[in-house]
Amino acid sequence: MNFAATLGLGLPIGIGLAAIGSGIGIGFLGQGAMNAMGRQPEVLPKIQVAMIIGFGFAEALTIYAFVTMFFLQGKIQ
């Protein structure tokens, strides 16, 4: 198995794994935020802002994988 083949196999799998992690994280975040919003609708804007920031952190992990993929993509030849 040469370098290009390893990359070609590894990059999609890596992105998929990262996406699974981010998905789980965002799912937990959304669950918590929805619960909180349901309990206390009066602080809804504050919860939303905190939720969006949390989404940003969780989503960033997949984005790192994505960026790595783009940096290495050119080497699959």
Binding site: P45, K46, I52, I53, F55, G56, A60, V67, F70, G74
Partner: protein, 440 residues
């Protein structure tokens, strides 16, 4: 310090030293004009006499034109002059820049916010939140200059060396690798293949679009501020709504520091937002879809946060903060572990900020490119009726998604800057800090 660098370089690399000096002179000129701008605008916003304010605005336009001509013309001339190496120019440009951006920000905010808040009657409450936004708009020019210059240098260095990243562009031209939609600079380059100006613009297209974004935002703010009335038009109303709602969110986190740091956060928000949204217009490109621009923005934020920490906590307090504030034996025992962890955490901030913004915007762009490419393929295979309507529909859907992402990413970038600032600022006691965090 900067002069020392020039002196050190001078014997071995005369041109590099010259470049550093040239970059510094450029930065100095830039900030001379920037300061003029800040003074003029705060003055214009504060004067009650309409005629005087109008003349101040007119002269600010003149100065603005002069600044653009001198600074960017100078930068352009420097890039055309082949003997200069761009890396050192960038170094010279950014050395005083970091300090000066912060100083200008402080100056502007001190002058802008405090008298406006105390100003009685006249236009009243509505005018106050807009004022920081103007100052923000002024600062944008400096940031645009820096982001753009950094990008230009990074884009030209690999091209000059013929190094590894160049193969990506070559691959794009052969239909493989990264794909880009053509924009109007590509078209211009096709029309005037020999024109060096057009070619330079095409090579550094995101730099041009970053300037464009700054100009567009500046125009919008100018439009909104032209008649500063109590019953606002829709432009002024929209801008005020955005500024006020952001002020609510940021104020919930920063508390009493809001007035000092809000303009910086707002400047970042609007600049990133404009750069993101400009990519939706067909024929334009988001500057934030290159790592260079986002990295420059993130570095500015990083330096500003560190500077804020040192300024507010003092050198000793800053070191204490980096050591995790040890107060007992366990804390001091943990010192060798905590210091690297904190330093690494600080260094990870600009990386994550820039990569997040770049990845999101770049990803959205790529999605649209793929679907537009698919539409083009269907057209080529004369499957118009079969494939084009659904393809166009999907493209339009993704453009809506891109608009959403643009706004959310601009929000996240500025809110994370706020969070980083909040973590650096001193809190009175721990209970209070926890309470604020719970509310934020």
């Amino acid at each position: 310090m900067a002069l020392a660098i020039v002196g050190l370089l001078a014997p071995s690399h005369p041109y590099a030293a010259l470049s550093v000096a040239a970059g510094q002179i450029l930065a100095a000129v830039n900030f001379f004009f920037l300061e003029k701008f800040v003074k003029l605008f705060t003055h214009a916003a504060l004067t009650p006499v309409p005629g005087e304010a109008a003349s101040a605005r007119a002269s600010s336009l003149g100065i603005g034109a002069l600044k653009i001509a001198l600074v960017y013309g100078g930068a352009f001339a420097l890039t055309r002059w082949n003997r200069l190496e761009l890396g050192p120019v960038l170094l010279g440009f950014s050395l005083p820049l970091a300090a000066l951006v912060l100083k200008a920000a402080m100056l502007a905010i001190m002058r802008g916010v405090s008298p406006a808040g105390a100003r009685p009657g006249a236009t009243g409450r509505e005018a106050r939140p807009i004022l920081p936004a103007i100052v923000a708009g002024v600062l944008l020019f400096g940031m645009g200059g820096m982001g753009g210059t950094a990008g230009a240098a990074m884009a030209q260095t690999p091209a000059a060396h013929g190094g590894t990243p160049a193969h990506v562009e070559a691959a794009a031209e052969h239909g493989g690798g990264e794909q880009h939609l053509p924009n109007w600079l590509t078209i211009l380059d096709d029309w005037f293949p020999k024109n060096p100006v057009v070619h330079w613009m095409h090579e550094n297209e995101f730099l041009v679009f970053a300037w464009l974004a700054a100009l567009v935002f500046f125009a919008i703010i100018f439009l909104a501020m032209r008649r500063d009335t109590t019953v606002p038009g829709w432009v002024q109303n929209g801008i005020e709504w955005m500024v006020e709602s952001m002020e609510g969110v940021v104020g919930g986190m920063l508390g009493k520091y809001t007035d000092r740091y809000f303009p910086f956060i707002m400047a970042i928000f609007f600049y990133v937002l404009t750069m993101n949204l400009i990519g939706i217009i067909p024929g334009f490109k988001s500057s934030t879809s290159t790592l260079d621009v986002t990295l420059a923005l993130a570095l500015i934020t990083f330096l500003y946060v560190q500077f804020t920490g040192i300024r507010n906590l003092g050198i000793l307090g800053y070191l204490d903060h980096m050591a995790g504030s040890p107060r007992d034996v366990v804390g001091f025992l943990m010192l060798p572990v905590m210091v690297p962890v904190h330093v690494l955490g600080e260094l990870a901030k600009p990386v994550s900020l820039s990569c997040r913004l770049f990845g999101n915007i770049f990803g959205e762009d790529t999605l649209i490119v793929v679907f537009v490419g698919a539409t083009a393929l269907c057209l080529k295979a004369s499957l118009v009726a079969l494939a084009v309507p659904p393809m166009l529909g999907i493209s339009a859907l993704f453009m809506l998604l891109q608009a959403l992402t643009s706004i959310v990413q601009a929000l996240i970038f500025s809110l994370l800057a706020t969070v980083y600032l909040y973590m650096m600022l001193p809190h009175e006691e721990h209970a209070h800090g926890d309470e604020t965090r719970a509310h934020a």
